[in-house]
C-alpha cells in the first residue's frame, strides 16, 4: 500500500498541502503535485502515477477534462481517479462518474473520509493493479 504513487492535482496550494499531508499521515510516502490538469498530464507522461486525486475547477485544464484525458490514454486508462471538489450537486457527481472517476469527495473532507474513499477505490480496482 505505501508503495502507491499518488498525484495530487489542485490549483490551490493550501489544498494540495492538506491532501499531501493527509496522505503522508496514512503512510503514503510517494506523493507528487500538479497545479492544474495540464501540469498533471505533463507529470503523468514524465513520471507516471498509480493513483490520481484531482480537484474539478482549475485553470488551463479542469479536473473533468483531466479525467477524460486519463481514460482516453491507453497508458493510464485504468489509473484510479478520486475527485475532491466543492461541487456537490447531483448533476456534477453524475458528470464526473460519466468521465469515469472512481469516487467522489465533496470539500471539506476529513482525513478519515479520504482514507475510506482511497481504500474503497483500491479495493474496487485491485484485480487490475499488479
Amino acid at each position: 500500500m505505501a508503495e502507491q504513487k499518488f498525484l495530487v492535482v489542485d490549483d490551490s496550494l493550501t489544498m494540495r498541502r492538506i491532501v499531501v499531508n493527509a496522505l503522508k499521515a496514512q503512510g503514503y510516502e510517494h506523493v507528487t503535485e500538479a497545479a492544474d490538469g495540464k501540469d498533471a498530464v505533463a507529470r503523468l507522461l514524465s513520471e507516471g502515477a498509480d493513483f490520481v486525486i484531482t480537484d474539478w475547477n482549475m485553470p488551463e485544464m479542469n479536473g473533468l477534462d483531466l479525467a477524460k484525458w486519463i481514460r482516453s490514454n491507453e497508458q493510464f486508462e485504468n489509473t484510479p481517479i478520486l475527485m475532491i471538489t466543492t461541487r456537490g450537486n447531483k448533476d456534477d457527481v453524475i458528470e464526473a462518474l460519466k468521465a469515469r472517476v472512481n469516487n467522489y469527495i465533496v470539500k471539506p473532507f476529513t482525513p478519515q473520509g479520504l482514507k475510506e474513499k482511497i481504500d474503497q477505490v483500491l479495493k474496487s480496482v485491485e484485480p487490475k493493479v499488479a
Binding site: 489542485d10 493550501t14 498541502r17 492538506i18 493527509a22 475547477n57 457527481v93 470539500k107
Partner: protein
C-alpha cells in the same frame, strides 16, 4: 440628444407632416402637443445625464473593489500557508518525540524492577496519549484550513459577478454616448466592452464550507447507484 437637435427634430417633423396630401396642416393642428412632448423630453435629459454620471462613477469604483477582493484571497492564502508550515513542523517534532519516547519505554520495560518503574511507565503512556492527541489536533487544524480554498472560490465568484456588472455598465455608458450604435464590439476601441465576456471561470461560485454530511452522503449514494447500474448484467 441636446436641445438644439430637439428643436431641429420638431421643425423637421412639422415640415414633413405639412407636406402630407391628406391633412396638409395636421402638424400645425398638433404643434402644441408636440411642443409639450419636446419640453417633457428636455426635462428628462438632465435626469439622464445624472444617471449616466452615476453609472460612470460606480463603474470606476469597481476595479478597485475587485483588486481588494483579490488581495483578500492572497492574504488568506499566505496566512494559511504559514499556519500549515507551523503545523508540519509540529507534526514532525511530535513524530520524532514519539519515537524517542518509544525507545525510552522499551528501556524502562527491559529494566529490572526498581523504585518508580511503574510510575515511569504510566508517565510514558500518558505522554504518548498527549502526543497522539496533539498530532490529531494538528491534522484537524489543517483540515479546517480548507476554508481558505473554499472562501477564495466564493470571492472569485463575487469578483466575476462584479466584473460582469462593470462590463454591462460600460456597455450602457457607450450607448448613452452612441445612441445609434447597436454593435459595441469595435475591435481595439478603448472602453468598448466585448458583448460576450470570456472570463475563465475556474472557480465554484457556489462553494460552501459546511461540515454537514448531507452533501457527501448524496455523492456517496449517487456513486453507489452508479456502480450498481454499471455492474448489473
Amino acid at each position: 440628444m441636446n436641445n438644439e437637435s430637439l428643436d431641429k427634430s420638431l421643425s423637421d417633423c412639422v415640415r414633413t407632416s405639412n407636406r402630407q396630401p391628406v391633412r396638409p396642416n395636421i402638424a400645425d393642428d398638433h404643434e402644441g402637443i408636440i411642443k409639450d412632448f419636446i419640453d417633457h423630453v428636455r426635462g428628462i435629459v438632465p435626469l439622464l445625464e445624472h444617471v449616466k454620471d452615476s453609472i460612470s462613477e460606480s463603474s470606476n469604483r469597481i476595479p478597485k473593489a475587485s483588486l481588494q477582493l483579490s488581495k483578500v484571497t492572497e492574504a488568506t492564502e499566505s496566512a494559511t500557508v504559514e499556519i500549515l508550515n507551523v503545523l508540519e513542523a509540529m507534526t514532525a517534532r511530535i513524530s520524532s518525540s514519539e519515537e524517542e519516547l518509544q525507545a525510552i519505554s522499551q528501556f524502562v520495560d527491559q529494566a529490572g524492577p526498581g523504585v518508580g518503574k511503574e510510575d515511569a511507565q504510566r508517565s510514558i503512556v500518558s505522554v504518548q496519549h498527549v502526543l497522539a492527541e496533539t498530532k490529531d489536533n494538528s491534522m484537524n487544524i489543517a483540515v479546517a484550513l480548507q476554508v481558505q480554498d473554499i472562501t477564495s472560490q466564493q470571492i472569485a465568484g463575487v469578483s466575476h459577478t462584479i466584473e460582469s456588472i462593470r462590463l454591462q455598465l460600460a456597455d450602457a455608458l457607450h450607448r448613452f454616448d452612441n445612441p445609434g450604435d447597436e454593435d459595441s464590439t469595435t475591435p481595439g476601441a478603448v472602453g468598448i466592452p466585448p458583448k460576450v465576456m470570456s472570463v475563465a471561470t475556474h472557480f465554484d461560485g457556489d462553494a460552501d464550507f459546511s461540515k454537514k454530511p448531507d452533501r457527501q452522503d448524496l455523492a456517496d449514494e449517487i456513486v453507489k447507484q452508479w456502480a450498481g447500474k454499471n455492474l448489473a448484467p
